[in-house]
Amino acid sequence: MIWNEKIETMEPRALKDIQSDRLKKLVAYIYKNCSVYKKKFDDAKITPGQIKSIDDIKRLPFTVKEDMRDNYPYGLFSASPKDLVELHVSSGTTGNPTLVGYTKDDIKLWSDVMARTICCAGAEPGDTIQIAYGYGLFTGGLGFHYGAMEMGLKIIPTSSGQTSRQLKIMRDFSPRILACTPSYCLYMADEARDMGLNPADSSWKIGIFGAEPWSASMRKEIQQIWGMLATDVYGLSEIIGPGVAQECKYQDGLHIFSDVFFPEIIDPKTGQEMPPGKDGELVITTLTKQGIPLIRYCTRDVASINYEKCRCRRTSPRISKIKGRTDDMIIVRGINVFPSQIEHVLLGIEGTHPHYQIIVDRQAHKLDTVEVLVEVDEKIFSDEVKKLHEFEERIKMEIEGLLSIGVKVTLVEPKTIQRSEGKAKRVIDKRIL
Protein backbone atom coordinates (compact mmCIF):
# COMPACT_ATOMS: atom_id res chain seq x y z
CA MET A 1 0.00 0.00 0.00
CA ILE A 2 0.95 3.66 -0.25
CA TRP A 3 0.74 5.32 3.15
CA ASN A 4 0.03 8.89 2.08
CA GLU A 5 -1.75 8.19 -1.20
CA LYS A 6 -2.66 11.82 -1.84
CA ILE A 7 0.83 13.26 -1.42
CA GLU A 8 2.88 10.36 -2.70
CA THR A 9 1.00 10.04 -6.01
CA MET A 10 0.33 13.75 -6.51
CA GLU A 11 0.73 15.33 -9.94
CA PRO A 12 4.12 17.07 -10.11
CA ARG A 13 2.50 20.46 -10.72
CA ALA A 14 0.27 20.23 -7.67
CA LEU A 15 3.23 18.99 -5.64
CA LYS A 16 5.22 22.00 -6.77
CA ASP A 17 2.47 24.33 -5.53
CA ILE A 18 2.64 22.70 -2.13
CA GLN A 19 6.43 22.96 -2.07
CA SER A 20 6.31 26.62 -3.08
CA ASP A 21 3.75 27.45 -0.44
CA ARG A 22 5.74 25.60 2.22
CA LEU A 23 9.04 27.23 1.25
CA LYS A 24 7.55 30.73 1.50
CA LYS A 25 6.19 30.00 4.96
CA LEU A 26 9.44 28.31 6.03
CA VAL A 27 11.63 31.21 5.01
CA ALA A 28 9.41 33.72 6.81
CA TYR A 29 9.35 31.51 9.92
CA ILE A 30 13.10 30.99 10.04
CA TYR A 31 13.90 34.63 9.27
CA LYS A 32 11.72 35.70 12.16
CA ASN A 33 12.86 33.13 14.71
CA CYS A 34 16.50 32.25 14.06
CA SER A 35 19.07 35.03 14.31
CA VAL A 36 21.81 32.90 12.75
CA TYR A 37 19.71 32.33 9.63
CA LYS A 38 18.55 35.96 9.59
CA LYS A 39 22.18 37.00 9.40
CA LYS A 40 22.87 34.44 6.67
CA PHE A 41 19.95 35.84 4.66
CA ASP A 42 20.98 39.43 5.29
CA ASP A 43 24.54 38.66 4.22
CA ALA A 44 23.20 37.09 1.01
CA LYS A 45 20.91 40.14 0.60
CA ILE A 46 17.80 37.97 0.54
CA THR A 47 14.51 38.88 2.17
CA PRO A 48 11.66 36.42 2.72
CA GLY A 49 9.49 38.50 0.38
CA GLN A 50 11.75 37.63 -2.57
CA ILE A 51 10.98 33.92 -2.23
CA LYS A 52 7.85 33.37 -4.30
CA SER A 53 8.15 29.79 -5.50
CA ILE A 54 10.21 26.67 -4.93
CA ASP A 55 12.35 27.70 -7.91
CA ASP A 56 13.64 30.59 -5.82
CA ILE A 57 15.32 28.12 -3.49
CA LYS A 58 18.49 28.55 -5.57
CA ARG A 59 18.81 32.08 -4.24
CA LEU A 60 19.06 30.87 -0.65
CA PRO A 61 22.36 30.25 1.13
CA PHE A 62 23.57 26.74 1.89
CA THR A 63 23.78 25.26 5.37
CA VAL A 64 26.68 23.01 6.38
CA LYS A 65 27.41 20.78 9.36
CA GLU A 66 29.83 23.37 10.75
CA ASP A 67 26.89 25.78 11.11
CA MET A 68 25.31 23.32 13.53
CA ARG A 69 28.53 22.80 15.43
CA ASP A 70 29.42 26.50 15.60
CA ASN A 71 25.98 27.40 16.91
CA TYR A 72 25.74 24.55 19.41
CA PRO A 73 23.46 23.92 21.13
CA TYR A 74 20.42 25.92 20.08
CA GLY A 75 21.73 28.69 17.78
CA LEU A 76 20.41 27.17 14.58
CA PHE A 77 17.03 26.30 16.07
CA SER A 78 13.96 28.27 15.08
CA ALA A 79 11.75 26.89 17.85
CA SER A 80 12.22 27.78 21.49
CA PRO A 81 14.04 25.01 23.41
CA LYS A 82 11.01 24.76 25.72
CA ASP A 83 8.89 23.57 22.79
CA LEU A 84 11.19 20.64 22.06
CA VAL A 85 10.03 17.19 23.12
CA GLU A 86 13.02 15.08 22.10
CA LEU A 87 16.74 15.63 21.64
CA HIS A 88 19.27 13.50 19.80
CA VAL A 89 22.97 14.19 20.10
CA SER A 90 25.72 12.70 18.00
CA SER A 91 29.47 13.02 18.44
CA GLY A 92 30.65 15.99 16.42
CA THR A 93 33.58 16.14 14.03
CA THR A 94 35.75 18.08 16.45
CA GLY A 95 34.70 19.82 19.60
CA ASN A 96 30.99 20.28 19.84
CA PRO A 97 28.59 17.43 19.13
CA THR A 98 25.67 17.80 16.74
CA LEU A 99 22.32 18.39 18.38
CA VAL A 100 18.95 17.89 16.74
CA GLY A 101 15.69 18.52 18.53
CA TYR A 102 12.09 17.80 17.65
CA THR A 103 8.88 19.62 18.52
CA LYS A 104 5.69 17.64 18.98
CA ASP A 105 4.78 18.38 15.34
CA ASP A 106 8.27 17.32 14.20
CA ILE A 107 7.70 13.93 15.85
CA LYS A 108 4.37 13.72 13.97
CA LEU A 109 6.21 14.50 10.75
CA TRP A 110 8.84 11.88 11.54
CA SER A 111 6.13 9.32 12.29
CA ASP A 112 4.42 10.11 8.98
CA VAL A 113 7.54 9.87 6.81
CA MET A 114 8.61 6.70 8.61
CA ALA A 115 5.18 5.16 8.04
CA ARG A 116 5.56 6.09 4.37
CA THR A 117 9.03 4.51 4.44
CA ILE A 118 7.96 1.22 6.00
CA CYS A 119 4.95 1.01 3.63
CA CYS A 120 7.14 1.85 0.65
CA ALA A 121 9.35 -1.13 1.55
CA GLY A 122 6.26 -3.33 1.30
CA ALA A 123 4.84 -3.58 4.83
CA GLU A 124 1.08 -4.03 5.18
CA PRO A 125 -1.20 -3.31 8.13
CA GLY A 126 -1.13 -6.30 10.48
CA ASP A 127 2.57 -6.97 9.92
CA THR A 128 5.08 -7.45 12.71
CA ILE A 129 8.37 -5.53 12.53
CA GLN A 130 11.58 -6.39 14.34
CA ILE A 131 13.55 -3.18 14.85
CA ALA A 132 17.20 -4.09 15.31
CA TYR A 133 18.57 -0.57 14.85
CA GLY A 134 20.00 0.87 18.06
CA TYR A 135 17.52 2.65 20.28
CA GLY A 136 18.86 5.70 22.04
CA LEU A 137 20.67 8.81 20.85
CA PHE A 138 21.11 7.19 17.44
CA THR A 139 17.96 8.12 15.49
CA GLY A 140 17.59 4.72 13.78
CA GLY A 141 15.72 2.77 16.44
CA LEU A 142 13.26 5.43 17.55
CA GLY A 143 12.57 6.65 14.00
CA PHE A 144 11.45 3.19 12.94
CA HIS A 145 9.54 2.84 16.16
CA TYR A 146 7.51 5.99 15.55
CA GLY A 147 6.73 5.01 11.95
CA ALA A 148 5.66 1.50 12.88
CA MET A 149 3.47 2.92 15.67
CA GLU A 150 1.88 5.31 13.18
CA MET A 151 1.13 2.38 10.87
CA GLY A 152 -0.20 0.30 13.73
CA LEU A 153 2.26 -2.54 13.20
CA LYS A 154 3.23 -4.91 15.94
CA ILE A 155 6.67 -3.76 17.05
CA ILE A 156 9.43 -5.90 18.52
CA PRO A 157 11.99 -3.31 19.68
CA THR A 158 15.02 -5.60 19.96
CA SER A 159 17.47 -2.76 19.34
CA SER A 160 20.93 -3.79 18.10
CA GLY A 161 23.13 -6.65 19.33
CA GLN A 162 22.43 -9.88 21.20
CA THR A 163 22.24 -11.81 17.98
CA SER A 164 21.14 -15.20 19.28
CA ARG A 165 18.27 -13.48 21.05
CA GLN A 166 17.32 -11.62 17.86
CA LEU A 167 17.11 -14.97 16.08
CA LYS A 168 15.12 -16.63 18.82
CA ILE A 169 12.63 -13.76 18.79
CA MET A 170 12.34 -14.04 15.04
CA ARG A 171 11.55 -17.77 15.34
CA ASP A 172 9.09 -17.31 18.18
CA PHE A 173 7.12 -14.35 16.81
CA SER A 174 7.60 -14.58 13.02
CA PRO A 175 8.02 -10.89 12.15
CA ARG A 176 7.80 -10.36 8.39
CA ILE A 177 9.77 -7.10 8.47
CA LEU A 178 13.33 -6.60 9.68
CA ALA A 179 14.99 -3.21 10.09
CA CYS A 180 18.74 -3.08 10.77
CA THR A 181 22.05 -2.25 9.13
CA PRO A 182 22.82 -4.47 6.11
CA SER A 183 26.11 -5.69 7.55
CA TYR A 184 24.35 -6.77 10.73
CA CYS A 185 21.84 -8.73 8.66
CA LEU A 186 24.67 -10.65 7.01
CA TYR A 187 26.37 -11.15 10.35
CA MET A 188 23.17 -12.67 11.71
CA ALA A 189 23.17 -15.23 8.89
CA ASP A 190 26.43 -16.72 10.15
CA GLU A 191 25.18 -16.75 13.70
CA ALA A 192 21.98 -18.48 12.54
CA ARG A 193 23.98 -21.25 10.87
CA ASP A 194 26.10 -21.64 14.01
CA MET A 195 22.87 -22.16 15.92
CA GLY A 196 21.85 -24.86 13.44
CA LEU A 197 19.23 -22.70 11.72
CA ASN A 198 18.75 -22.30 8.01
CA PRO A 199 18.47 -18.57 7.22
CA ALA A 200 16.25 -19.37 4.23
CA ASP A 201 13.58 -20.64 6.65
CA SER A 202 13.36 -17.27 8.41
CA SER A 203 10.11 -15.33 8.76
CA TRP A 204 11.72 -12.12 7.51
CA LYS A 205 10.48 -11.37 4.00
CA ILE A 206 11.30 -7.66 3.81
CA GLY A 207 14.42 -5.95 5.10
CA ILE A 208 14.80 -2.20 5.49
CA PHE A 209 18.50 -1.56 5.53
CA GLY A 210 20.48 1.62 5.89
CA ALA A 211 22.68 3.81 8.09
CA GLU A 212 25.79 2.62 6.23
CA PRO A 213 26.94 2.19 2.64
CA TRP A 214 26.13 -1.10 0.95
CA SER A 215 26.31 -2.35 -2.58
CA ALA A 216 24.31 -4.27 -5.15
CA SER A 217 26.34 -7.39 -4.42
CA MET A 218 25.55 -7.16 -0.71
CA ARG A 219 21.89 -6.83 -1.59
CA LYS A 220 22.06 -9.92 -3.76
CA GLU A 221 23.76 -11.87 -1.01
CA ILE A 222 21.24 -10.85 1.65
CA GLN A 223 18.31 -11.68 -0.63
CA GLN A 224 19.76 -15.07 -1.51
CA ILE A 225 20.71 -16.10 1.99
CA TRP A 226 17.59 -14.96 3.78
CA GLY A 227 15.04 -15.24 0.98
CA MET A 228 13.90 -11.68 1.61
CA LEU A 229 13.48 -8.45 -0.34
CA ALA A 230 16.30 -6.16 0.79
CA THR A 231 15.41 -2.48 0.47
CA ASP A 232 17.48 0.62 1.04
CA VAL A 233 16.47 3.41 3.42
CA TYR A 234 18.14 6.83 3.53
CA GLY A 235 18.18 9.45 6.20
CA LEU A 236 20.36 11.60 8.40
CA SER A 237 19.73 13.00 11.82
CA GLU A 238 20.24 16.61 10.70
CA ILE A 239 17.21 16.30 8.40
CA ILE A 240 15.01 14.02 10.54
CA GLY A 241 16.76 10.65 11.04
CA PRO A 242 15.69 7.71 8.89
CA GLY A 243 12.67 8.49 6.71
CA VAL A 244 14.11 10.87 4.12
CA ALA A 245 13.95 8.39 1.22
CA GLN A 246 13.12 4.72 0.73
CA GLU A 247 13.14 2.13 -2.04
CA CYS A 248 9.91 0.50 -3.17
CA LYS A 249 9.69 -3.13 -4.26
CA TYR A 250 11.08 -2.25 -7.70
CA GLN A 251 14.41 -1.36 -6.09
CA ASP A 252 15.07 1.30 -8.68
CA GLY A 253 16.10 4.33 -6.64
CA LEU A 254 14.90 5.69 -3.32
CA HIS A 255 11.69 7.72 -3.24
CA ILE A 256 12.51 10.96 -1.49
CA PHE A 257 9.59 12.55 0.34
CA SER A 258 10.02 15.80 -1.51
CA ASP A 259 6.87 17.50 -0.22
CA VAL A 260 8.70 17.82 3.12
CA PHE A 261 12.37 17.21 2.26
CA PHE A 262 13.11 19.14 -0.91
CA PRO A 263 16.10 17.64 -2.73
CA GLU A 264 18.64 19.28 -5.02
CA ILE A 265 21.70 17.69 -6.59
CA ILE A 266 24.50 20.20 -6.90
CA ASP A 267 28.07 20.38 -8.08
CA PRO A 268 29.88 20.69 -4.74
CA LYS A 269 32.55 22.91 -6.30
CA THR A 270 30.28 25.48 -7.96
CA GLY A 271 27.02 25.07 -6.05
CA GLN A 272 25.22 24.82 -9.41
CA GLU A 273 22.45 22.33 -10.03
CA MET A 274 23.37 19.06 -11.77
CA PRO A 275 21.09 17.65 -14.48
CA PRO A 276 18.97 14.60 -13.57
CA GLY A 277 20.97 11.37 -13.71
CA LYS A 278 24.27 13.11 -13.03
CA ASP A 279 26.09 12.59 -9.76
CA GLY A 280 26.46 15.47 -7.35
CA GLU A 281 26.02 16.37 -3.71
CA LEU A 282 22.57 15.84 -2.26
CA VAL A 283 21.27 19.06 -0.69
CA ILE A 284 18.03 19.00 1.30
CA THR A 285 15.68 21.69 2.60
CA THR A 286 13.28 20.65 5.36
CA LEU A 287 10.09 22.37 4.21
CA THR A 288 7.92 21.82 7.27
CA LYS A 289 10.17 21.13 10.24
CA GLN A 290 9.79 23.45 13.25
CA GLY A 291 12.54 22.66 15.77
CA ILE A 292 15.64 22.95 13.64
CA PRO A 293 14.53 23.49 10.05
CA LEU A 294 17.47 23.59 7.65
CA ILE A 295 17.77 25.49 4.39
CA ARG A 296 19.74 23.79 1.62
CA TYR A 297 21.62 21.48 3.97
CA CYS A 298 24.70 19.99 2.30
CA THR A 299 24.59 16.30 3.21
CA ARG A 300 28.07 15.54 1.74
CA ASP A 301 26.44 12.43 0.27
CA VAL A 302 26.91 11.88 -3.45
CA ALA A 303 23.89 10.74 -5.46
CA SER A 304 21.91 11.45 -8.63
CA ILE A 305 18.19 12.13 -9.02
CA ASN A 306 15.47 10.78 -11.29
CA TYR A 307 12.15 12.66 -11.71
CA GLU A 308 10.35 10.01 -13.77
CA LYS A 309 7.23 8.43 -12.37
CA CYS A 310 7.86 5.01 -10.84
CA ARG A 311 6.00 1.79 -11.66
CA CYS A 312 4.77 1.80 -8.06
CA ARG A 313 2.66 4.93 -8.92
CA ARG A 314 4.62 7.19 -6.60
CA THR A 315 5.44 10.48 -8.26
CA SER A 316 8.09 11.63 -5.78
CA PRO A 317 11.56 11.82 -7.33
CA ARG A 318 14.00 9.02 -6.70
CA ILE A 319 17.58 9.42 -5.57
CA SER A 320 20.18 6.82 -6.44
CA LYS A 321 21.92 4.75 -3.83
CA ILE A 322 24.48 6.93 -2.07
CA LYS A 323 27.63 6.61 -4.14
CA GLY A 324 30.16 8.23 -1.84
CA ARG A 325 31.01 11.28 0.20
CA THR A 326 32.33 14.70 -0.67
CA ASP A 327 34.27 14.74 2.61
CA ASP A 328 36.39 12.14 4.38
CA MET A 329 33.66 10.79 6.63
CA ILE A 330 33.43 7.02 6.94
CA ILE A 331 30.52 5.08 8.34
CA VAL A 332 31.34 2.19 10.62
CA ARG A 333 28.57 0.01 12.00
CA GLY A 334 26.10 2.82 11.45
CA ILE A 335 28.27 5.40 13.20
CA ASN A 336 29.73 8.37 11.38
CA VAL A 337 33.45 8.68 11.88
CA PHE A 338 35.63 11.58 10.78
CA PRO A 339 39.41 11.14 10.77
CA SER A 340 39.57 14.54 12.46
CA GLN A 341 37.94 13.01 15.55
CA ILE A 342 40.76 10.52 15.91
CA GLU A 343 43.29 13.25 15.26
CA HIS A 344 41.65 15.26 18.01
CA VAL A 345 42.09 12.41 20.48
CA LEU A 346 45.74 11.93 19.56
CA LEU A 347 46.46 15.62 19.88
CA GLY A 348 44.69 15.70 23.21
CA ILE A 349 47.07 13.10 24.61
CA GLU A 350 49.91 15.05 26.05
CA GLY A 351 52.85 15.70 23.83
CA THR A 352 51.78 13.61 20.90
CA HIS A 353 51.30 14.71 17.37
CA PRO A 354 51.90 11.41 15.69
CA HIS A 355 51.08 10.26 12.23
CA TYR A 356 48.16 7.91 12.21
CA GLN A 357 46.07 5.88 9.83
CA ILE A 358 42.61 4.40 10.16
CA ILE A 359 42.04 1.01 8.61
CA VAL A 360 38.45 -0.07 8.20
CA ASP A 361 37.87 -3.66 7.25
CA ARG A 362 35.07 -6.17 7.10
CA GLN A 363 35.63 -9.89 6.96
CA ALA A 364 32.91 -11.80 5.12
CA HIS A 365 29.66 -11.58 7.11
CA LYS A 366 31.39 -9.94 10.01
CA LEU A 367 30.92 -6.49 11.43
CA ASP A 368 33.24 -3.68 10.48
CA THR A 369 36.52 -3.42 12.34
CA VAL A 370 38.53 -0.28 12.90
CA GLU A 371 42.24 -0.32 13.49
CA VAL A 372 44.15 2.85 14.25
CA LEU A 373 47.84 2.73 13.44
CA VAL A 374 49.91 5.23 15.37
CA GLU A 375 53.55 5.91 14.54
CA VAL A 376 55.78 5.71 17.58
CA ASP A 377 58.01 8.71 18.08
CA GLU A 378 60.62 9.43 20.72
CA LYS A 379 58.15 11.06 23.06
CA ILE A 380 55.91 8.02 23.06
CA PHE A 381 58.61 5.39 23.07
CA SER A 382 59.70 3.65 26.24
CA ASP A 383 61.96 0.69 26.86
CA GLU A 384 59.17 -0.69 29.04
CA VAL A 385 56.51 -2.64 27.18
CA LYS A 386 53.90 -1.94 29.83
CA LYS A 387 54.21 1.81 29.21
CA LEU A 388 53.69 1.29 25.50
CA HIS A 389 50.66 -0.85 26.25
CA GLU A 390 49.32 1.83 28.56
CA PHE A 391 49.69 4.35 25.77
CA GLU A 392 47.83 2.09 23.32
CA GLU A 393 45.12 1.51 25.87
CA ARG A 394 44.71 5.21 26.56
CA ILE A 395 44.25 6.05 22.89
CA LYS A 396 41.81 3.17 22.56
CA MET A 397 39.70 4.25 25.55
CA GLU A 398 39.54 7.86 24.43
CA ILE A 399 38.56 6.99 20.87
CA GLU A 400 35.97 4.50 22.07
CA GLY A 401 34.60 7.02 24.53
CA LEU A 402 34.18 9.59 21.79
CA LEU A 403 32.87 7.38 19.01
CA SER A 404 31.12 4.58 20.91
CA ILE A 405 32.67 1.93 18.69
CA GLY A 406 35.40 -0.54 19.53
CA VAL A 407 38.79 0.06 17.91
CA LYS A 408 42.13 -1.65 17.90
CA VAL A 409 45.18 0.55 18.37
CA THR A 410 48.48 -0.63 16.95
CA LEU A 411 51.81 1.12 17.37
CA VAL A 412 53.98 1.11 14.27
CA GLU A 413 57.48 2.27 13.42
CA PRO A 414 58.04 5.84 12.31
CA LYS A 415 57.64 6.74 8.64
CA THR A 416 55.91 3.46 7.89
CA ILE A 417 52.51 5.00 7.23
CA GLN A 418 52.25 5.71 3.57
CA ARG A 419 52.36 9.39 2.66
CA SER A 420 51.39 11.02 -0.56
CA GLU A 421 52.64 14.52 -1.30
CA GLY A 422 53.91 14.67 2.25
CA LYS A 423 50.49 14.03 3.70
CA ALA A 424 49.59 10.71 5.21
CA LYS A 425 46.61 8.92 3.79
CA ARG A 426 44.29 8.97 6.77
CA VAL A 427 41.82 6.28 5.91
CA ILE A 428 42.25 2.93 4.20
CA ASP A 429 38.86 1.39 3.63
CA LYS A 430 39.35 -2.26 2.78
CA ARG A 431 35.69 -3.17 3.01
CA ILE A 432 34.28 -4.95 0.03
CA LEU A 433 30.70 -3.81 0.16
Partner: protein, 143 residues
Protein backbone atom coordinates in the same frame (compact mmCIF):
# COMPACT_ATOMS: atom_id res chain seq x y z
CA UNK B 1 78.48 3.35 37.61
CA UNK B 2 75.39 2.96 35.53
CA UNK B 3 75.77 1.69 32.04
CA UNK B 4 73.88 2.57 28.91
CA UNK B 5 71.32 0.38 27.26
CA UNK B 6 69.83 1.19 23.90
CA UNK B 7 66.16 0.39 23.42
CA UNK B 8 64.71 0.15 19.93
CA UNK B 9 61.08 -0.07 18.83
CA UNK B 10 60.52 -2.87 16.34
CA UNK B 11 57.36 -3.91 14.60
CA UNK B 12 56.82 -7.64 14.37
CA UNK B 13 57.95 -7.76 10.78
CA UNK B 14 60.28 -10.14 9.09
CA UNK B 15 63.85 -8.89 8.88
CA UNK B 16 63.64 -5.95 11.28
CA UNK B 17 66.05 -7.42 13.82
CA UNK B 18 68.43 -8.27 11.04
CA UNK B 19 68.30 -4.68 9.80
CA UNK B 20 69.26 -3.33 13.22
CA UNK B 21 72.09 -5.80 13.65
CA UNK B 22 73.42 -5.32 10.17
CA UNK B 23 73.30 -1.54 10.57
CA UNK B 24 75.31 -1.74 13.78
CA UNK B 25 77.72 -4.22 12.25
CA UNK B 26 78.41 -1.96 9.29
CA UNK B 27 79.19 0.85 11.71
CA UNK B 28 81.52 -1.36 13.68
CA UNK B 29 79.36 -1.38 16.79
CA UNK B 30 79.65 -4.54 18.84
CA UNK B 31 76.68 -5.95 20.75
CA UNK B 32 77.51 -7.40 24.16
CA UNK B 33 74.08 -8.17 25.48
CA UNK B 34 70.67 -8.38 23.93
CA UNK B 35 67.10 -9.11 24.84
CA UNK B 36 63.76 -8.64 23.13
CA UNK B 37 60.42 -8.06 24.84
CA UNK B 38 57.77 -9.03 22.39
CA UNK B 39 54.03 -8.41 22.20
CA UNK B 40 51.43 -9.35 19.64
CA UNK B 41 52.26 -6.52 17.27
CA UNK B 42 55.60 -5.04 18.28
CA UNK B 43 58.74 -5.71 20.23
CA UNK B 44 61.30 -3.69 22.16
CA UNK B 45 64.89 -4.61 21.48
CA UNK B 46 67.32 -3.82 24.31
CA UNK B 47 71.02 -3.96 23.71
CA UNK B 48 74.26 -3.08 25.42
CA UNK B 49 77.00 -2.14 22.96
CA UNK B 50 80.53 -0.83 22.99
CA UNK B 51 79.72 2.51 21.27
CA UNK B 52 76.32 3.65 22.52
CA UNK B 53 76.33 7.19 21.12
CA UNK B 54 77.27 6.07 17.66
CA UNK B 55 74.71 3.26 17.77
CA UNK B 56 71.86 5.63 18.68
CA UNK B 57 72.96 8.10 16.03
CA UNK B 58 72.95 5.59 13.18
CA UNK B 59 69.69 4.03 14.32
CA UNK B 60 67.94 7.40 14.34
CA UNK B 61 69.41 8.30 10.99
CA UNK B 62 67.78 5.19 9.66
CA UNK B 63 64.32 6.03 11.05
CA UNK B 64 64.39 3.74 14.04
CA UNK B 65 62.94 5.01 17.29
CA UNK B 66 65.68 4.41 19.81
CA UNK B 67 66.43 5.78 23.23
CA UNK B 68 68.96 5.41 25.98
CA UNK B 69 68.10 3.79 29.26
CA UNK B 70 70.30 3.60 32.32
CA UNK B 71 70.78 0.07 33.57
CA UNK B 72 73.05 -1.58 36.07
CA UNK B 73 75.40 -4.40 35.11
CA UNK B 74 76.33 -6.67 37.96
CA UNK B 75 78.94 -9.37 38.31
CA UNK B 76 77.53 -12.61 39.55
CA UNK B 77 79.33 -15.74 40.60
CA UNK B 78 78.89 -18.24 37.75
CA UNK B 79 77.69 -21.03 39.98
CA UNK B 80 74.42 -22.42 41.41
CA UNK B 81 72.75 -19.81 43.59
CA UNK B 82 74.77 -16.91 42.13
CA UNK B 83 71.76 -14.97 40.84
CA UNK B 84 69.65 -15.95 43.84
CA UNK B 85 72.16 -14.30 46.15
CA UNK B 86 71.82 -10.99 44.30
CA UNK B 87 68.05 -11.20 44.12
CA UNK B 88 67.87 -11.90 47.84
CA UNK B 89 69.58 -8.60 48.53
CA UNK B 90 67.12 -6.81 46.27
CA UNK B 91 64.09 -8.49 47.82
CA UNK B 92 65.29 -7.73 51.34
CA UNK B 93 65.66 -4.08 50.38
CA UNK B 94 62.31 -3.86 48.62
CA UNK B 95 63.75 -3.10 45.20
CA UNK B 96 61.71 -3.98 42.11
CA UNK B 97 63.29 -5.26 38.94
CA UNK B 98 61.55 -4.08 35.78
CA UNK B 99 63.42 -6.60 33.66
CA UNK B 100 66.82 -8.24 33.44
CA UNK B 101 68.93 -10.28 31.07
CA UNK B 102 72.30 -11.96 30.82
CA UNK B 103 75.47 -10.81 29.14
CA UNK B 104 76.74 -12.57 26.09
CA UNK B 105 80.41 -12.12 26.86
CA UNK B 106 82.25 -13.22 29.91
CA UNK B 107 85.44 -11.44 30.78
CA UNK B 108 86.21 -13.35 33.91
CA UNK B 109 84.96 -16.46 35.63
CA UNK B 110 81.93 -14.44 36.65
CA UNK B 111 78.72 -13.90 34.72
CA UNK B 112 77.35 -10.43 34.05
CA UNK B 113 73.68 -9.60 34.40
CA UNK B 114 71.96 -6.42 33.30
CA UNK B 115 69.19 -5.05 35.51
CA UNK B 116 66.62 -2.39 34.78
CA UNK B 117 65.34 -1.12 38.12
CA UNK B 118 62.44 1.12 38.91
CA UNK B 119 64.76 3.16 41.12
CA UNK B 120 68.25 2.78 39.67
CA UNK B 121 70.10 4.97 42.19
CA UNK B 122 68.67 3.23 45.21
CA UNK B 123 69.37 -0.21 43.73
CA UNK B 124 72.93 0.72 42.97
CA UNK B 125 73.53 2.00 46.48
CA UNK B 126 72.15 -1.17 48.01
CA UNK B 127 74.20 -3.40 45.75
CA UNK B 128 77.43 -1.54 46.51
CA UNK B 129 76.58 -1.59 50.19
CA UNK B 130 76.40 -5.38 49.94
CA UNK B 131 79.79 -5.64 48.22
CA UNK B 132 78.38 -6.60 44.86
CA UNK B 133 80.66 -5.73 41.97
CA UNK B 134 79.06 -3.34 39.52
CA UNK B 135 80.52 -3.18 36.06
CA UNK B 136 81.40 0.35 34.98
CA UNK B 137 80.78 2.02 31.67
CA UNK B 138 84.48 2.12 31.02
CA UNK B 139 84.83 -1.61 31.66
CA UNK B 140 82.05 -2.27 29.19
CA UNK B 141 83.62 -0.07 26.54
CA UNK B 142 86.97 -1.76 27.06
CA UNK B 143 85.61 -5.27 26.72
Amino acid sequence: MKITQISVFLENKKGRLYEVCSLLGKNNVNIYALTIAETESFGVLRIVVDKSDLAVKVLKQNNFVANITEVVAVEVADQPGGLAAILKILVNNDISVEYMYGFVEKFSDKAILVFRFEDTDKAQKVLIGNDIKIVTKKEIEDL
